[in-house]
Symmetry: C2
Subunit: 592 residues, 2 copies
Amino acid sequence: MPTYTPPTKDMQFILHDMLKVSQSGTPGYAELDAEFTGAVLEEAGKLARDLLTPLNVVGDTEGCRLENGVVRTPTGFKAAFDEVRAGGWTALDLPEEYGGQNMPYILGTAVGEMFSAANQAFTMYQGLTHGAASAILAHGSDQQKETYLPKMASCDWTGTMNLTEPHCGTDLGLMRTKAEPQDDGSYKITGQKIFISSGEHDMADNIIHLVLAKIPGGPEGIKGVSLFIVPKFMVKEDGSLGERNGVSCGKIEEKMGIHGNSTCVMNYDGATGFLLGEEHKGMRAMFTMMNEARLGVGMQGLAQAEAAYQNALEYAKDRLQGRAVTGTENPDGPADPLIVHPDIRRALLDQKSFVEGARAFLLWGAEMIDRSHRADDADAEGLISLLTPVIKGFMTDEGFDMTILAQQVYGGHGYIEEWGMSQFARDARIAMIYEGANGVQALDLVGRKLAADSGKHVMAFFEMVKTFIKENEDNEALKKDFLDPLKESSKHLQSAGMFFMQNGMKNPNAALAGSYDFMHLFGHVCIGLMWAKMAKVAHEALENGTSDEAFYKAKLKTGRYYMSRRLPATAMHLKRIESGADPVMELEAELF
Amino acid sequence: MPTYTPPTKDMQFILHDMLKVSQSGTPGYAELDAEFTGAVLEEAGKLARDLLTPLNVVGDTEGCRLENGVVRTPTGFKAAFDEVRAGGWTALDLPEEYGGQNMPYILGTAVGEMFSAANQAFTMYQGLTHGAASAILAHGSDQQKETYLPKMASCDWTGTMNLTEPHCGTDLGLMRTKAEPQDDGSYKITGQKIFISSGEHDMADNIIHLVLAKIPGGPEGIKGVSLFIVPKFMVKEDGSLGERNGVSCGKIEEKMGIHGNSTCVMNYDGATGFLLGEEHKGMRAMFTMMNEARLGVGMQGLAQAEAAYQNALEYAKDRLQGRAVTGTENPDGPADPLIVHPDIRRALLDQKSFVEGARAFLLWGAEMIDRSHRADDADAEGLISLLTPVIKGFMTDEGFDMTILAQQVYGGHGYIEEWGMSQFARDARIAMIYEGANGVQALDLVGRKLAADSGKHVMAFFEMVKTFIKENEDNEALKKDFLDPLKESSKHLQSAGMFFMQNGMKNPNAALAGSYDFMHLFGHVCIGLMWAKMAKVAHEALENGTSDEAFYKAKLKTGRYYMSRRLPATAMHLKRIESGADPVMELEAELF
């Protein structure tokens, strides 16, 4: 059975060495000193390691069952959820007035990574609740906030997001679920929603469904979509639960992974719903949560990669197979451990250099979210809005690839379920799909975000990279190994953006045909930038003297691996992009 | 439920337009005219489409069950196996004297692709039998051949290969299974083997296990390994079945995929075995089959990619979602089909250009096997020996990636099991692992094959590419789109080989650290060469006039996609290779 060691040390390095959070001036960050974040991360890590990790395989093996309209979650899930609730882990970053702890988002993100790594399917129950609560917080009336938020902050009531219908996922303008206005100001919701994560289960007293639906007579397409609160049990004025509402789970889907989470077909049969926000502005309400939700999914890519990597590393150190080509390293054993072999190291370093770089990328992004929320920093909001599809798309693609590499280290043992490596890959696979499939992320990036505010934010990104390189160009320890490759890759990204500008106006397909490559190119440059930043502080620590030389030296070596072995992908992506629309568009659909 | 359309037209194009098999002079090929191969492929295709495809999901859902020592295969498997046997499809390329049809290997390969695409788990029962029969054919005594081959050719008896033990897979020198000589010339085999595909099942009268074991007192390590025939039921002198032998299935593994194939733990408790070939030369006997077996696994990568692609394409044409950015293409519908979107086309063309190129690569390789077997062509044998790890490693990696891309086209529907796209990915995953994990393929390629016969075969490959480019350089239709990119990528491959020569002598890790990239670099150059060859004949067909212009034009467009969008990977692989050993080796194992 796989194990999980919370990467708290690495998180502390990013928070305090790299981001220097307590000195950053971001509102709420002054109290984030190393001792405080260390204590929070240690506690969360224990829960992840000791409570959630052992339940991960249980969830995968047992799955969820629908019996007479009731969904049974896997053995141990309910008790574990109670323990998470009791520890106050369900609303770290929600406002105190609704029972949250008002902590910065960045800390919730670090905790979330560990919970997700330990048990993605389990953590989704909480994650969806957080998303739904955020929507109510942003768009609900005072009464709605008072009715739902305290219960959702504690996860006594959980939440869901209902967007997809059988015939439409990405193109929600096609949706058919309707919301008919009633005399009392409520709506009758009728329709079917599919792929509803945590849609029905036995771990909460109530489930608060947020449902997109169309009010008859409203505008056509996506402009006629409104958002509704549809509780499983009606909530009485005194806050107690009343009648069962007209919403039910019709089916649980059999999936490739995340078996511990109930993915439901939800049927709305004239269910009572309450408008959340304004009529026909449902998509706008959804979009305000999108950055956070997508960051959270990007985090899942990283989290599964981290968990899989840890186990692959352990196996590579334990398993004796073959001898090092440069001479026996374990003369007392029948063979050397796998980790002596260069190609095993390649696989491990691909994983290690990704997860550490991605973690920095994620937390750096989380700080931007905090700045945009807590300091109304429009530049931070613009930049994180630009980078969100990169974090979601690139990190889930790479995260999945890393679980496959980790599985490969095990050879045949990776393919059988007994060792648990297959589950990491199967669970990680969903993150490339939900919350906007990665192709849609690429479209969002190139078709919308790049040109937003006249391209101001991407220019700011380039300026940031340029400034970092300029400020450090006299640092010989960084120049050749970090700054030069970063500069080159950053030029590739600029050239790609230039290509889109010069060709995309005449022919939008010239840009969109390269959108996926652009997303990956951008991701590599971001992780390259993170590694350059981490190398800088690691080098400073070594120069200034540290009791933990090994840690900082490992950072430098891991970073050098990324710069020399992974960053060269940017030239390839640029070349693909510059081949333009023709190769992608010239084959007629009927000739495929 | 997924469907499968046998790609017989594409196979005919490769056999007759590109390879011109009946004129190639390869022994046995004269009779392979278009009519004959067309008839065989049509019949095999029907069987794949109508019989094996519907059983694919059944096998995945039901799996195999072990009950009181008996393994039950999924519903319908036994009847289907009888039908395959009755049609004479089990021994196309085995000698007629043992009940085979003595057809060229190339035709068996084309048939095998369709069977594998339709149902990989099912086809493995037959594939393993073929492998075991080939070993007996190559190394068995006359009596052994007469006893086993006719029954194995008909698959009345199936076969298995027993190599792996719990503590050793790649490093077989560590194996513990022992073979004690008996007075009657037989051996008593004792030990445990794991991951034995088709190890025990209910579809054949007998199962012939080929088992690697050590004769006590023999040389240490891999040089003391011998190969034995261990029948499930002893075979009497008259050919009838006698007592049950001391071999049994202890467990069936739960796996990520290929659920329809029984992957068994096999326990040998003093089972009677018969030496196959010479004492202590067991590995040599295994290696003679390796090229074919690995080619067969590479084929599985292609086969799953083809099946997944077909379904993704169908979905992309059917599913209406969003509008083309350049203007509505389906004005009568509520939205345009997915295939109008550039990024969906990218995903489809990655798949299409891979499967068509890989099919050409595979059949081109199969012709080399025929030449080496039927004409004792040492050059062909040397070249296919060099290319075998590329076919196995590159094609299964890429094949798996393509099933992931196909799954992605379905969005959320790709993740639920109902649509069958998950199974393609889960089944394809094993091909990267078994028959030598892909890292071992890369090691074989760079550590052994590249320098074999003083590098003669890789030089011959470069010469072949150079000659092809030179012979066609006046062909303006080919030059810019095909020959120039091929030339550039081929130079990358040569530079990589040069880097290994210059650095690998001093430090073998400098070569091995780049071995995986080299395998992929080589794979791309091979597929690039295939596309250049296919483009040449497609262009000729169009120039000479053809009734099927659309087909040949599609070939050219698909080929151009590969050359401009996939081949640029070679520069990246070269750059990674040229970063040498340090980035991979410098991090101490304890600092990971």
